[in-house]
Symmetry: C2
DNA sequence: CTGAAAGCGCTTACAG
DNA sequence: CTGAAAGCGCTTACAG
């Protein structure tokens, strides 16, 4: 059996292809009777409806936006922050009948091709600076909005003041009296391969603001506070890890093996903080008695866990990004939206107590 | 400036369109020198790469699968079960360079059009029986796999034995001595509009197995156990709600207002169970002292919450569905895969104590 | 209200 | 190694 197209139906009914097309796409353009007739024949021939690829090609519009992550999607779905963002984005996309095409970065090479082949009208991009996906996405010459990072001249941006927020986190611990603070930084899974200057990643002098990615911006904020409090930045142990609870445990194990043991751990995200808490629990290290832990994001699980963290409007970031992409403003086509954040102090931070003696 | 296409580049370089196409898609088909030359001109003209819609049309393959939910995506992303499933699905999709196109059902009408226009090679469908999306998806005549429900003759299926698992849940409570059991059933958001026989939804005689959707299958299981234990099914209060924690709270409020108050609540999903627990906490009803609560799914948050529930292999469902779609078996093109489940008894269920006196 | 014509941008045998 | 030709399936002014 040959493939059924508009033409097949047209031939059968004895009308032109145009009319059949109208029957599907502009029903008001023909008599109800004829339309019905056409639909019957379509049904009879088991016609699956106008081919979407052909339609998109002709119309020049897909009705879909691409969402690009720098991690494998399987990691993104394990991260409440990403999921919360998607919830917001989905809300505005759905309202306008726009689909979501999710693209992750399982391994170098694959995603680049997927991005090049994505039938979409625009992209929403999460990505650290220098990541190859940035170039790939930009090259499509479609509307783009970046979230958290990178900030690209002329491209709409949504984020928060990561450096300032991170400074507040570290200051909170320092004010409590902590001096042996360790940091677990969030680094994209494959940053080694991706970063333009991997060796410089920890060089906070370069990490001035959101231009350098939230991961580094936060690091810079921790740095600022330490320096100001007279804690030598060079002595602060820093371990890089991916934003994944399980993987973060390894970093935590390393840090909690240090002697003298840190009295506080700053995690660059809540997900990582949970990993740290997992390891502490395993080893019988009490929180906040023996160890203070701070996260970042305030994902839903942070509250029940009593985690001290920075709240940022995750879902609102998603809706904002969606709106920027779907209905760009004429006056300000590439705005830089910086949203509010707030340090939420809960039960995982306290003055260093017994831990000092360890 | 006119739009740049393969032809623009061909004209500029002085070769045919074919050769330019080869430069992008089959680099081994031409001399490196010529290829380089072509790439330079492409760069110069700011060519965004071969148009994906045109490519897809010509090739007849999109490299994307559609994932269809019966709820708004913003709800799906609020549900750990759905997210866990997506994690599994994403894992196998990514490995083969396949994209994920997510489609929700924000309101009647919208999704139907999105499905008709989705440039995909197949669909993964979650849906209760009689839902309009089922027909819409099937009509595309693409490969489909359904998850949990509905079971459609000739279409690959992935699920668990919901009725049997639900029976175990209810039996657990009945064995503990509960007799005043209330049920919060999960019903798709817009079932009223969607179901073919909304009035029959609660008619368990019809809910024989997974053919009728997990929601009803579970209800049927609760029914079986009650009847067997001599609890009159007609006296069991049932409240329908959506699989959303916040929305479920309303159902819980209603049920906990009943006098005499139920000593146990069976929630059709963990998400709903959390809603019940929220309300109980608000009212100072202790669990399991005053009230036993059981969920279903064993989402990640269930363990820390101590929730008694049914564990099912959420992520594996995703990987299985993905594999069925991406590499269908020749011998058995439409298998019905029923995965294992297990009742996990934690700290939210106990014998009815003080509550009996209420 | 209906149809003939042009064209969306690409890929793929096939011939040279 | 390169090019001419055909065609993927549709929509959209435009003319009647």
């Amino acid at each position: 059996m040959e493939r059924v197209t508009l033409q097949t139906i047209a031939d059968r009914v004895g009308v032109s292809r145009t009319t059949v097309s109208n029957a599907f796409s502009r029903p008001d353009q023909l008599k109800e009777e004829l339309r019905q007739r056409i639909m019957e024949v379509a049904e009879e021939l088991d016609y699956p409806g106008p081919n979407p690829a052909a339609r998109t090609l002709r119309r020049g519009r897909a009705g879909v936006i691409g969402v690009v992550f720098t991690e494998a999607l399987s990691y993104a779905f394990a991260d409440s922050y990403a999921v919360g963002f998607l919830r917001g984005l989905a809300r505005v996309a759905e309202q306008s009948g726009t689909g979501l095409h999710l693209i992750g970065w399982p391994s170098p090479g694959v995603a680049e091709e997927v991005i090049g082949d994505a039938v979409v009208d625009g992209f929403c991009l999460f990505s650290p600076e220098g990541h190859p996906l940035v170039e790939t996405v930009l090259r499509r010459r479609l509307p783009v909005v970046t979230v958290d990072h990178p900030y690209v001249e002329g491209v709409p941006f949504v984020g928060i003041e990561d450096r300032i927020a991170a400074r507040e986190v570290a200051t909170h611990l320092l004010d409590l009296g902590h001096r042996r603070i360790a940091i677990v930084a969030a680094q994209p899974m494959a940053a080694q391969a991706a970063a333009t200057r991997p060796a410089d990643w920890l060089d906070v002098d370069l990490a001035g603001d959101h231009r350098f990615g939230a991961g580094r911006a936060r690091l810079a904020g921790y740095h600022d506070a330490c320096v100001k409090a007279g804690v030598s930045w060079g002595d602060v142990p820093i371990h890089r890890t991916t934003n994944d609870r399980e993987i973060a445990r390894r970093a935590a194990e390393h840090l909690l093996d240090l002697r003298p043991r840190p009295t506080a751990v700053i995690a660059a995200t809540d997900e990582i903080a949970f990993g740290v808490m997992d390891v502490a629990a395993q080893r019988g290290i009490t929180i906040p008695g023996d160890l203070s832990v701070v996260g970042f994001d305030d994902v839903p699980a942070a509250e029940p866990a009593g985690l001290t963290t920075v709240r940022q409007p995750i879902t609102e970031k998603g809706t904002t990004a969606g709106r920027l992409l779907l209905k760009p403003s004429r006056q300000d086509p590439s705005p830089c939206v910086l949203m509010d954040h707030r340090l939420i102090i809960r039960r995982t931070t306290a003055a260093p107590g017994d831990a000092l003696a360890t």
